[in-house]
Symmetry: C2
Subunit: 554 residues, 2 copies
């Protein structure tokens, strides 16, 4: 990006955007506002002032443990108050909080720790086995802090040396003189794990998280009257980081600890008890929440709570159902690389008044409008920007101050970033109102003559045929068009050998342009599946990639 | 400020915070949302997309007029849609929008234009005489653009060369490739005028206005459902710049044009007509607004509109009265140097539930809590930080990313800034809940033995005595304490010669510490006044400054 300089200004431009500013503000202006946390022993509460005093002690303890600015400090923990404290203490000293994903295999966790060269790891009592599983393979780690008030000797762990979180705090001084950390320095690191290849390091800057925090406030309207519950696990993409937004505005924070979907009943009871008004999560948690609410004799009402929902499209029945309990599900779109807020579904005033009820619900399932401050575009395979007509689908590219511009120390950067944009790998459309809709993963798109064809759209249409059991569509190499769609169809048992290629093509013809239709349809007995039961397009691609080389269209 | 560096991050930290991002976002995602403007000919409306097309044409026109990045471009205008367009077009090209205050005398305006070396001035038709009054004394100005759709020859003005705003736009191309302007470059300049000395230049950076805009969104909760009216004149401190916040979130904007308090009836009617929900202003406009509302037979209701009120303490009767019309007056605190949002009065949830009604109203008159991201402290005359006890008064110092760090090219900087903070010149207290209350101007405080004594507090107490008509308190030089308070009292006619120094001191003794009481009380016939009727402390200071040199306390 070419940056031009104008007239020098007189503003305090060197005042750095820092996460320390956020917690200090909460402690100064909302010292009495509660932070509620739950662990195995019950529900506890302290306040921003008390949390801040502990954060300062923790910063002093880090100094004693020889953690210097720039050093990486790993954390293995659930949604606890101690994780919350670490999120401010570690980056506040200039060090980096390394988020350790509890859901990845030891080999990947070892890669993450070694790649980041973490020097110290904080471990929740319950996660000592996870740390032990990797400890012999992470030579940069010089110590472990067990998040406990017990003496570390109680645990008979092979981790060494070990310290106790509460003992460190008790021994530390309360006063800590926070440095002003350069805003482009890393505050936290998170590794994103794809289906293939090694995890990739996203190193978020203080500036990135500060601006994302303000943006989260702008788009949720969270303020000092709200009660925010941290539902998303805090060990990945900082659990979306909306707890920063809560602290920014002096909202109450509720940290539910370890058990989320595993004990949905007690999570919902905690929500009711603490009068939660803002949260974020995914259908994977909102669905069981909805089901649990339906079992209650006394119907609770959350008074118009705003719950952002990410990961996948929220089911309509769930959105409508939760609305009955005073919960608004707001579909949001993002990824680890976007910190993650990139788009959010809101209805414009004229839509509220003019659209029919069902049209509104249909619209609410989309990913929504890009939030202010980001550039989002859709492009064809050659990188040309595509029109916002709600039909033309292209890869979604994103840039902006809280978007990742590269992976940390990674040789795969060239394929993931282009012209200053991050390539999301998602394919989608943008309509004339600016609403983004994700339609596909790009790897499932077919590149034909410089245009995308959606394999998922073709599959969904083909399985609508009454004789079809399953379908898969891949792009096979074509000498003239680069790729052309090739369809595989498994007929229902009773229609085996009683269905033709033309029947299939005629059936779907009205929904596609002529050039988007498959060049051929092959009938097979079974679609190959992966170990977890997903369609294995790779198996089909490997076998049929050269199908059109010798193919003669009749 | 010492800044430390940590680990380099992978975020897009070079994506600059720019005002262009804000209007481009509004045009992309809320193209159809209205901007309503009123002028002599009636009420008109266009939308963000149409405004944005004109802004791009304007940027092209500026290029044709040879305005380069860094150049200053003056504007003489009311709250119009063209001023709104200029606020994005001029800084978007990298040039500086110079706000020309319509309320200052020609000599000061000449100083402002010459000090800023403005190259071009935009002038509303109605303000041609203002431009003509200075045009022979501003050699850097190379041309004038009259904000009109008429041919400039119609105006028979001595301004030369002159251009017509609408002709420039009509001739310009629509496509404009916005540069990414370095965020520390100036977006706009505003000169602050004190009671003494030359105006001082505040040169706001793009970064400053961008962060201030987000902060304004956070603290007003303004969003796409809101209708914002620009009440504060746009020619000073960008009229508080909340129209940026409106554009940031896709809110409707209402620009009332020239007549504000002068035609309060039609302003209120426009508010009702356009269903205004957010605004900012001062008691000087809210008071007449309230009085007008009371004359209406049909009582309008604004449904909980949020109106920020600055400049002076909002009268209780006005706040309570407007509440009946569904308007919440929110007391805000700031200055030209703070862009201006520095503190804002909000009640915390426990206050809402626990305080008695009158206690709440009393609290609402205070300046409120510092907004997130700023450091605000009160200090004694030696610069030592004072406690937050709600009693101890000190000078209010402020620093943060949207606070001015120096005046542009000005020799008076040393007296206005200290340790990275801006010295507000206001004296105030901060209570244990963090609420700021402005008590005085520092120049009216008395420095005694390293402590402040409030002359205004003493005066207010003394005039409470039943025999007293008027009182003034000054600080007079004292060889040991630097200054000591000296009180002047005008007795009511009927008590002349029937009141003693001890009576006065006994009367106020319980409200002050012993060392805060005046060392002497002088009875006089009249307190000297300025030409506008304010107490002239300077006259008293000049006459009595050495009073304590020879004073023997009895």
């Amino acid at each position: 990006m070419k940056i031009i300089k104008g007239c020098p200004s007189t503003s305090m431009n060197d005042y750095q955007l820092n996460t320390t500013t956020i917690i200090r503000h909460a402690a100064r202006n909302f010292p009495e506002r509660e932070i509620v946390y739950r662990n195995e022993r019950g529900v506890f509460r302290y306040n921003y002032n008390e949390a801040y005093q502990r954060i300062k002690r923790l910063a002093n303890a880090l100094k004693k443990l020889k953690i210097n600015p720039g050093d990486r400090v790993g954390v293995l923990d659930w949604n606890t108050n101690r994780f919350f404290e670490l999120y401010f203490a570690v980056p506040g000293t200039g060090a980096v909080l390394l988020q350790m994903n509890l859901r990845i295999v030891p080999e990947e966790l070892i890669y993450v720790v070694n790649h980041s060269e973490a020097k110290l790891i904080f471990v929740d009592e319950s996660l000592i086995p996870v740390a032990e599983a990797i400890s012999s393979s992470v030579p940069t780690v010089k110590g472990y802090v067990i998040m406990t008030d017990k003496n570390p000797a109680c645990f008979k762990t092979k981790l060494s040396p070990v310290y106790s979180y509460e003992e460190l705090l008790a021994d530390a001084e309360t006063d800590y003189d926070w440095p002003m950390v350069d805003e482009t320095s890393t505050y936290s690191a998170c590794y994103t794990t794809g289906t293939t290849g090694r995890p990739k390091g996203v190193y978020y800057s203080h500036r990135c998280i500060y601006l994302h925090t303000m943006e989260a406030v702008c788009y949720t309207g969270i303020n000092w009257n709200d009660n925010f519950m941290q539902i998303v696990p805090m060990f990945h993409a900082q659990g979306w980081g909306f707890f920063f937004a809560a602290a920014f505005m002096g909202a109450k924070i509720v940290l539910p600890g370890r058990y989320l979907v595993e004990d949905i009943g007690s999570l919902v009871e905690l929500m009711i008890e603490e009068k939660v008004t803002v949260g974020c999560g995914a259908p994977a948690i909102f669905m069981p929440m909805f089901n649990y609410l339906r079992t209650l004799e006394e119907k609770p009402h959350f008074g118009g709570a705003r719950f952002l929902s990410g990961a996948t499209e929220p089911p309509l029945a769930m959105m409508k159902g939760l609305k009955e309990y005073g919960i608004n599900i707001i579909h949001a779109y993002g990824a680890t690389e976007t910190t993650p807020l990139a788009a959010l579904n809101l209805l414009k005033p004229d839509m509220e008044s003019k659209l029919a009820e069902e049209e509104k619900w249909d619209l609410k399932r989309r990913q929504g409008l890009p939030v202010t401050g980001l550039d989002i575009k859709i492009v064809d395979p050659e990188g040309r920007e595509l029109p916002h007509d709600g039909k033309t689908s292209g890869e979604i590219l994103i840039r902006g101050p809280w978007i990742t511009g590269s992976y940390y120390n990674d040789s795969r950067n060239a394929e993931s970033f282009v012209d200053g944009y991050w390539k999301s790998g998602d394919a989608g459309t943008i309509d004339s109102n600016g609403y983004l809709k994700v339609t596909d993963r790009v790897k499932d798109l077919i590149k034909s003559g410089g245009e995308w064809i959606s394999s998922v759209d073709l599959e969904n249409s083909i399985v609508g045929h009454p004789k079809v059991l399953e379908a898969a569509v891949i792009g096979a190499y074509h000498p003239r068009w680069e790729e052309r769609p090739l369809a595989f169809v498994v007929p229902k048992e009773e229609y085996k050998d009683q269905i033709t290629k033309d029947e299939i093509l005629d059936f779907i013809a009205s929904r596609f342009a002529r050039w988007q239709l498959p060049d051929d349809v092959l009938f097979i007995d079974e679609i190959p599946k992966t170990s977890v039961g997903k369609i294995s397009k790779n198996a089909l691609r490997n076998k049929y990639k050269d199908y059109f080389r010798s193919f003669k269209k009749c």
